[in-house]
């Protein structure tokens, strides 16, 4: 900060300043705090989040259709209880939990990659 007053200091908790490599293509207003790495981290996390949600929600949204399109299948008795009940009252919960676990592992791995990249930006370059 050679010229105090010219540039507003960032009020964001910055843990580490990152040398900018290349050109920042995103909006120019935040190039001093938000790096290319931050943007790609967010993109990666967003993709992973959408994937984790779709894995659960798409089959879930198809279940009401099952009742409408194939009432016979939904009523199929398994151990005296209709299949729809096994799916809706029991099976969904372990599936949701496993998806959540998988998501956390993946998200933490992405963050670990980010940390390594920020610490040693040259490592991944040829």
């Amino acid at each position: 900060m050679t010229e105090p007053g010219r540039r507003r200091p960032a009020r964001v908790r910055v843990t580490r300043t990152v040398p900018l490599r290349g050109r920042v293509t995103s909006p120019p207003r935040s190039e001093d705090v938000v790096s290319v790495y931050d943007r790609s981290l967010r993109r990666a996390q967003l993709r992973w989040s959408v994937a984790s949600v779709l894995v659960v929600v798409v089959p879930l949204l198809l279940l009401p259709l099952l009742g409408v399109l194939a009432p016979g299948v939904a009523a199929l008795p398994v151990l005296g209880v209709p299949l729809a009940w096994w799916l809706l009252a029991a099976a969904v919960y372990p599936v949701i939990w496993l998806a959540a676990r998988r998501h956390v592992t993946g998200a933490e791995r992405t963050e670990q990659d980010y940390r390594e990249l920020v610490e040693d930006p040259a490592r991944d370059l040829p």
Binding site: V12, T15, P27, V56, P64, G67, V92, I96, H103
Partner: protein
């Protein structure tokens, strides 16, 4: 005295709550303690506390009653309540915690850089909170009078007084311990009687009464699909907008822990939600007379005495009754903390100064004058937060319980969910359009609720009534559209007129930065259930 077991069960739950809260009060002294338990709550405790807080009267009693009345279609309610946490986990938990905000209004101000956004969010928090508190107090009166034969107001007042004492006494830190204990209390209280009743069925067989044939099957009417999908959307998105749930996330030490906490919550909720449908199935066998609108709501409490013989049935009934009171107490406490936090900090002048002094410190080391003033303010706000819903409950206004909770979810889904999702993941969101979107979504959900509750549209336009009963499917996209289109138009105008853009105090892209390596031990890259965290290096 036939009501002795019921009174004893309630007394035990209240005593446990008061004792645990008293313990919490002793260790809780700074502002940080009051609002966010000094951000030092470990994932396992925090997850139990979130579970304890979230499983309300609607989950403990309402789900079983709805399944009894509506059959397989009502199974969507607990699914929606659980998947809501998956959305919270994937899109909100970690970045929200990393934003460093205290409450939802804090986030709105940090992200949008506008004090108006803070006030508007605070108002929505209070409305959603009161809508959700009201059924807790009404249901506690109902269940109390059904179980003990005493007047309703006593049950409502009992819950109100205990909640007031626990919240005003120890704030968030004390409540965290209370709620964590109450999750396990509730799980035991619903699972153990269900297992005993199922075992009795296996040994003795059951009376041969049958549910109607279409009860056990999901709806095969294509027209019901809209209702199911819209309900799911409201529950999925509404969960992330519930103020008492979000406030809990600020009590995590960091973003990584926020995520792990949410993962554990999903497991705990699943563990609980398999039980309510069991009661509905048992009720068709043992007590089909419960399957009518007025009685189904207290099915979980009434069934054991009808299904099991003699003393065993009475004891099992007392256990589920205790669980129901644990549900009233914990949910009402969590909501009261959230509402009074907002009342004390955001909706009264000068609220942020005293609190900010304590907010800066994360440890419970020193107690400053600012702390003391902020704590007094918080205690006064607790009274205000409780007076309105308790008053309405005591007046005996006949509020449909499920509809009120549904309205709270629809309102949260139409206001906070778009704000959080766009605010965290999209740089382009601007303050003005964000406020307009929240107002549009909130107004749409509220108008739909009023029209439904008064029954105006049901008479005039039966087709329209369906759309208004479950408004989320159109009110949420409406709110999102207003936010996105408004922000795009504004940024085009700014580019055209070359106005410099004011940067928000918090850059959305930075909310995703993990905590620095030095702050927390690195998780191993391998997946597995083993503890991936070294015991050292905790703050």
């Amino acid at each position: 005295m036939t009501h002795a077991p019921a009174l004893a069960a309630i007394a035990v739950v209240v005593a446990v709550t008061v004792l645990v809260a008293a313990y919490g009060t002793r260790v809780s002294r700074t502002t940080g303690d009051f609002y966010v338990a000094s951000r030092a709550v470990r994932p396992w405790w925090n997850a139990s506390a979130i579970g304890g807080e979230y499983l309300s009267a609607a989950s403990f009693l309402g789900v079983a009653g709805l399944v009894l009345l509506e059959g397989a279609d009502a199974l969507w309610f607990p699914i929606g309540y659980t998947v809501g946490y998956l959305l919270l986990l994937t899109f909100v938990a970690a970045p929200l915690r990393r934003s460093g905000a205290y409450t939802l209004p804090d986030f709105a101000e940090l992200r949008l850089g506008s004090a108006r956004a803070r006030t508007a969010s605070a108002l929505v928090v209070v409305v959603v909170g009161w809508l959700y508190l009201l059924p807790q107090f009404t249901a506690s009166g109902l269940v109390w009078s059904a179980a003990t034969g005493l007047p309703r107001w006593m049950g409502t007042m009992l819950v109100a007084v205990v909640v007031c004492g626990a919240v005003a006494g120890g704030g968030m830190r004390s409540i965290t311990i209370v709620q964590a204990v109450q999750y396990w209390l509730k799980l035991t209280a619903i699972a153990v009687p269900a297992c005993v009743l199922l075992a009795l069925w296996g040994i003795n067989g059951a009376p041969d009464s049958q549910a109607p044939a279409d009860w056990a099957l999901p709806s095969s009417e294509p027209t019901d699909l809209y209702g199911t999908y819209s309900l799911l959307l409201a529950l999925l998105l509404g969960t992330m907008g519930l103020p008492h749930v979000l406030t809990r996330f600020y009590t995590n030490p960091d973003g990584t822990d926020a995520r792990r906490t949410t993962r554990t919550v999903i497991g705990l909720l699943g563990l609980f939600y398999v039980w309510p449908p069991v009661y509905a199935v048992l009720a068709w066998r043992y007590a089909p007379q419960l399957a009518e609108a007025g009685r189904a709501d207290t099915l979980v409490v009434d069934l054991p005495a009808l299904a099991a013989p003699g003393t065993l049935g009475v004891v099992l009934g007392a256990i589920t009754l205790g669980g129901a009171f644990a549900a009233f107490l914990s949910t009402a406490s969590g909501l009261t903390v959230a509402v009074s936090g907002v009342l004390a900090r955001d909706l009264t002048p000068g609220g942020t100064t005293g609190a900010a002094a304590g907010a800066a410190g994360t440890g419970g080391v020193g107690v400053t004058t600012g702390d003391r003033r902020a704590v007094t303010r918080f205690r006064l706000a607790t009274l205000v937060a409780l007076v309105v819903p308790v008053g309405v409950a005591l007046l005996g206004v006949d509020v449909p319980l499920a509809a009120t909770v549904g309205l709270a979810f629809a309102l949260a889904a139409s206001t906070f969910a778009p704000l959080l999702l766009l605010g965290i993941w999209w740089d382009g969101l601007r303050s003005g359009p964000a406020l307009a979107g929240m107002a549009t979504g909130g107004a749409a959900a509220a108008v739909a609720a009023v029209l439904t509750l008064t029954g105006v549209t049901a008479r005039a336009h039966p087709g329209l009534a369906e759309a208004l009963e479950q408004p989320a499917a159109w009110s949420v996209p409406l709110a999102v559209a207003v936010m996105v289109v408004g922000s795009l138009l504004q940024s085009r105008r700014e580019r055209f007129t070359d106005t410099p853009l004011p940067a928000p105090p918090v850059q959305p892209a930075l909310l995703h930065r993990p905590e620095p390596v030095s702050d927390r031990p690195v998780p191993a890259v391998v997946s597995g259930t083993a503890r991936r965290r070294s015991p050292t290096a905790r703050r």
